[in-house]
Amino acid sequence: MNHHRAGRLLSAYLDSELTAAETRAVHAHLLDCAACREAYENLRAGRELLAGLPAAEPPAEVWAAIHNPELRASSAEAEGAPWMSAVRAILVRFAPRRITVRRPAWALAAILVVLALAALPLVKGTVDRLHATEIGVDLYVHDHAMQMGTAPLVDRAYVGLVAGDAELVLAGETPRPVGDGAR
C-alpha cells in the first residue's frame, strides 16, 4: 500500500472500519512509515479529545418543554409576527374545512397577486378611457368615455370580460332583441 492511500485510510483504520485486507495493509505500512505513525497518533489523540467532551446537559426548561410538547406547541403558534397569526386566523375561518393553512405569508401573497390581476384591467381601462376623453372628437364618444371613466364597473366590455357573458344586460338598460348586433 502506498503512502498516500494509507494516509487516507488512517482515519477509518483508527475506527476499525476497514476491511480485514485493508487493515492488514495499513498496519504493515505503519510499521514502515514514521510519518504515518505520527499522523495516526495525532488522529487518535484528537479523537480522544472529542470523546472526552462532557455531554451537554439539557437545562430544566428544555426538559419541561420536551415533556409537555403541547404547551410549547400552543406557545410556538402564539409567537411570530402578529400579522401572520391574524392572516392565519382569517384564512382558517374562511377556508373550507380540512384545508390547513401552512404558510400564511405565501397565502397572503397569493391573494394579493390574484387581487392585483383582477384590478389590472380595471385600472388600465380607466386610464385608457380618461385618456380617450381628451382626444375624442365625437360628442357621443366623449360622453360615453367620460361616464365609463368615472364608473368603469358598468362598462360592458369590462363586465363582459369578468362575467364572460356577451349578452349581458345591465341594470336600468332596455334589453335589446337577440341578433340586434348583426344588423
Binding site: 487516507r8 488512517l10 482515519s11 477509518a12 475506527d15 472500519e17 497518533e41 495525532n42 488522529l43 489523540a45 484528537g46 479523537r47 480522544e48 479529545l49 472529542l50 470523546a51 472526552g52 467532551l53 462532557p54 455531554a55 451537554a56 446537559e57 439539557p58 437545562p59 426548561e61 428544555v62 426538559w63 418543554a65 420536551i66 415533556h67 410538547p69 403541547e70 410549547r72 406547541a73 410556538a76 390547513t100 401552512r102
Partner: protein, 209 residues
C-alpha cells in the same frame, strides 16, 4: 417499512401533521420513555452542532414536538435513533437556511479596513499551559474548532467521535453513502487536528483533562 412511514410522518413540518389527539396514559408513558432515552443525546448533538444553548434548545424541542405528534405512528420498541437524529440534522439545516446571513469567518484571515489590513491578535493557546489545560477552556476550544467545520463535516464528526456511532449507522442517519461518511470524517479530523494542535500534542504526552 413502518419505520420509514413513521420517519416520514416525523419529517413533515409540524403543521402538516394534524394536532395530536388526546393520548392514552399508556401512550404518554411511551412518549416519556422516548424522552428519557433520547433527550440527552438529542440535546447534546444539537448543542455541539449549533454551539449555543438557545439554538440547541429550539432544535431539541422541535424534534420532540415532531415525535410527539407522530407518536401513534411510531411502533413501540422500534429503534428511533436513526430517524430522530436525522430530524435533528434536518432541523439544523433548516435553521441555517433561515439564517443565511451568519457567515463563518476565519480568525486567521486579516480584516480589511480603510486604513489597511488588520490582523486579529489571538491569545496563543500554548503560551499559558496552566490556563490552556483547564477543562472549560479546552471545551470552548473544541467547540470553536467544530464551528469552523462545514455543517456536513461537523455532523459526521459529532455523530462519530462525540456520540460514538459506527460509520454504517451514520450513513443511514444522514442518508449518504458509507464512503461519504469515511471521507467527511477524514477531512473533519484533519481540520480539527490543526485547530487543536496544542491540545493534541498535550494529549499525546499523556495529559488527561
Amino acid at each position: 417499512m413502518s419505520e420509514t412511514l413513521a420517519a416520514m410522518a416525523i419529517m413533515a413540518p409540524p403543521s402538516e401533521v394534524a394536532k395530536a389527539p388526546a393520548y392514552t396514559a399508556e401512550e404518554l408513558a411511551r412518549y416519556d420513555g422516548i424522552v428519557q432515552r433520547y433527550a440527552r443525546h438529542v440535546y447534546n448533538i444539537a448543542y455541539r452542532m449549533t454551539g449555543n444553548q438557545a439554538d440547541a434548545r429550539d432544535l431539541s424541542q422541535e424534534a420532540f414536538l415532531r415525535v410527539y405528534r407522530a407518536l401513534r405512528r411510531v411502533q413501540p420498541g422500534a429503534p428511533l435513533e436513526s430517524w430522530l437524529y436525522r430530524i435533528v440534522s434536518n432541523l439544523y439545516i433548516d435553521l441555517l437556511r433561515r439564517r443565511p446571513k451568519v457567515r463563518v469567518e476565519s480568525l486567521d484571515a486579516p480584516i480589511d479596513t480603510p486604513r489597511g489590513e488588520l490582523t486579529r491578535e489571538l491569545p496563543d493557546a500554548a503560551a499559558n499551559p496552566e490556563v490552556v489545560f483547564e477543562r472549560e477552556h479546552i471545551d470552548g476550544a473544541i467547540q470553536q474548532a467544530l464551528g469552523v467545520l462545514s455543517p456536513d463535516l461537523r455532523m459526521v464528526v459529532v455523530l462519530s467521535d462525540i456520540e460514538g456511532f459506527a460509520y454504517e449507522e451514520i450513513a443511514a442517519m444522514l442518508r449518504v453513502p458509507l464512503g461519504t461518511v469515511k471521507s467527511r470524517l477524514h477531512r473533519a479530523r484533519q481540520v480539527l487536528q490543526v485547530r487543536l494542535r496544542p491540545f493534541v500534542d498535550a494529549r499525546r504526552r499523556g495529559w488527561q483533562p
